[in-house]
């Protein structure tokens, strides 16, 4: 097992090199002069030349790539062209914001989705099954944008019980350690900040989690229906075990494998796709960061963010593969 993990971690190296080449090429794939596309039509030749010099665009590609890679390895992601801020520092704050939101949304989606799927399968054709699966069908096709706005209108404007934007109420004290606010507030024993951060997470988390929740619910249901027909479930019942035990242990552990695949995929998608949610709820994460960078042609920011997100994507895949082994001992790693 450990050997497998180490081998997989080594296999990450070529993948990441590939990703780095892709992100590096990004700047050169855009037709025309990169310096001009960054500075716009009105830039003077002198300005362009100084930017080229600054970014090293005059050097041969291979030298540029070497430098790019060397900097990354040292944790130096360069500066934003627009704001001149250090990108690594920015990401250190923005990445946890997005990851925290994504994990929160996924946990919400998994708990509700799996539970609904299991109950719908066990009570096939019941009113619960009908309602939850119609809801799931609806949930997959719901526009997040609309859902987000409706939630803000309902919970922030009408009932005024949830904050409409941001990660923390301004003025709320929180000592940050990891920049994951829930974690930090727990680590520092700051209960007020925890509640505040949690209430800020609820709406964007739900908005972001709706689609995966619906997909997970449907997947769990069909997988459970398949498993409940198996001989070993009949055996488990014949042993005189409690129904709940049979369903949640014997059946669910078998039914979970295809659900796990969906969860892994959705997690990656959410990380990349949080742009909309972050925009609606003014969430200071990388989604909005990269969105603004793309608009402003801030290539160093775009490159770095893509590289980081791709790395996380690959890591999530690795974790999913390792979890497979937990859920199905028949899977061989060698």
């Amino acid at each position: 097992m450990l050997k497998y993990i180490i081998r997989r971690l080594f296999m990450l190296i070529p993948v990441l090199i590939g990703v780095s080449i892709l992100t590096f090429s990004l700047i050169h794939l855009i037709p025309g002069d990169p310096a001009r596309s960054m500075l716009g039509e009105k830039a003077t030749e002198a300005q362009l030349e100084s930017l080229r010099e600054e970014l090293g665009l005059n050097d041969p590609y291979i030298v540029q790539y070497g430098r790019f890679l060397g900097n990354i390895v040292q944790g130096d992601l360069g500066e934003s062209i627009q704001s001149k801020e250090n990108i690594a520092e920015q990401l250190l704050y923005k990445l946890p914001a997005t990851v925290e939101l994504t994990i929160f949304a996924m946990i919400l989606a998994i708990i509700v989705g799996v539970l609904a799927g299991v109950i719908a399968a066990v009570k096939q054709y019941s009113w619960f099954d009908n309602i939850s699966m119609t809801g799931a069908l609806f949930g997959v096709s719901l526009p997040i944008f609309w859902l987000g706005l409706m939630m803000i209108w309902l919970f922030s404007v009408v009932f005024n019980i949830l904050p409409p934007s941001g990660r923390l109420t301004s003025g709320m004290e929180l000592t940050t350690i990891t920049n994951f606010y829930l974690l930090d507030s727990l680590l520092t024993g700051n209960w007020a900040a925890f509640k505040d951060a949690f209430s800020h997470l609820l709406m964007p988390g739900l908005a972001l989690g709706t689609i995966p929740m619906a997909i997970i619910a449907r997947m769990t249901r069909s997988s459970m229906l398949e498993v409940m027909r198996q001989d070993y479930i009949r055996t488990a019942n014949a042993k005189g075990l409690r129904t709940r035990f049979v369903v949640f242990q014997h059946a669910l552990k078998n039914a979970f494998l295809p659900v796990l695949t969906v969860i892994g995929l959705q997690f990656g998608l959410l990380l990349g796709g949080a742009v909309l949610t972050e925009t609606i709820f003014s969430w200071p994460g990388i989604g909005r960061y990269v969105y603004l960078a793309v608009l402003g042609r801030d290539y160093p920011v775009v490159q770095s963010t893509i590289l980081i997100v791709a790395t996380i994507f690959v890591l999530v895949n690795l974790i999913t593969d390792i979890l497979y082994k937990y859920f199905d001992p028949r899977i061989r790693f060698d």
Binding site: Q230, D231, Y232, R234, T235, A236, N237, A238, K239, G240, L241, R242, F245, H250, K253, N254, F327, D328, P329, R330
Partner: protein, 334 residues
Amino acid sequence: MHTESPILQVENLHTHFITKAGIVKAVDGVDFDIKPGETLGIVGESGSGKSMTAMSIMGLIPSPPGKIVEGEIRFKGENLLTKTKKQMRNIRGKEISMVFQDPMTSLNPVFTIEKQLIETILAHESFSKNQARSRALELLHLVGIPDPKKRLKNYPHEFSGGMRQRVMIAIALACNPSVLIADEPTTALDVTIQAQILELFKKMQNELNMAIIMITHDLGVVAEVCDRVMVMYAGKPVEYTETNHLFDQGKHPYTLGLMNSIPTINKQKKKLEAIDGVPPDLRSLPKGCSFAPRCKHVMEACLHIDPTLTEVNDHHFVRCLLYEETNSEKVVSP
């Protein structure tokens, strides 16, 4: 030999499945009893209701669509059909346990053998986990699995078919049941392994004085292990007697057909499909004798009158108009 009173009595059992296409009378008036230490065989073609008889006893008829509509199942004198769900759960796997046909699919692939043994023990006995563990070890030893200590930690896919069936038997024996139902326990195994498993059943029966209901396609198995035998056709018992009687003086045309379909020269086994014609559609049984469309001795009366199970000799019952004494008088009524 078996002078004690019966441990299990099934009386006039009717189990029906209510489907869109009509009512399937899977079990349609089954009567039998069995004493401690005795082995009763149930034979019949595919679909004759053998498994559903067993599942009715276990209280595991899937409902809907299945329902026990009539009859009594008395275990130690008490009617199981009036028991609550919880009471039945306490009987299943403890007092009455079951071994299924396909050992490849009847064990849960994602749990170790140890877990699957222990959960049964813990469900019924007030054992500590450690006590259950040593009981599990003892059971594997009992059913003849080599190196049991190491094998406990293995998953089902790490066992051969014969070894898995031994594990299934170990699970069934975990709480020293008084009745063991074996539903075609050797059908999926190759011939030499079959003999070993049958041997194991006999040995366990001698040690524990269990009553065994042996469901099988195979008259060879009946000859090998059964004291008495019930032949089923279309949900009804058609012949019910001691094993020797069946082979010496079997009477029902269906039974005789079954016996002719066993090859006698070599001991090769053969399924019982060799009788001409197909089993009837249980949703719309013919008026009169269900076997009439396939019977060599069919008479005019057989098309109108459904024969009743009649004692033709001491403890030898046959359901056939050829052996009903009152036959001639009944023919008058249409």
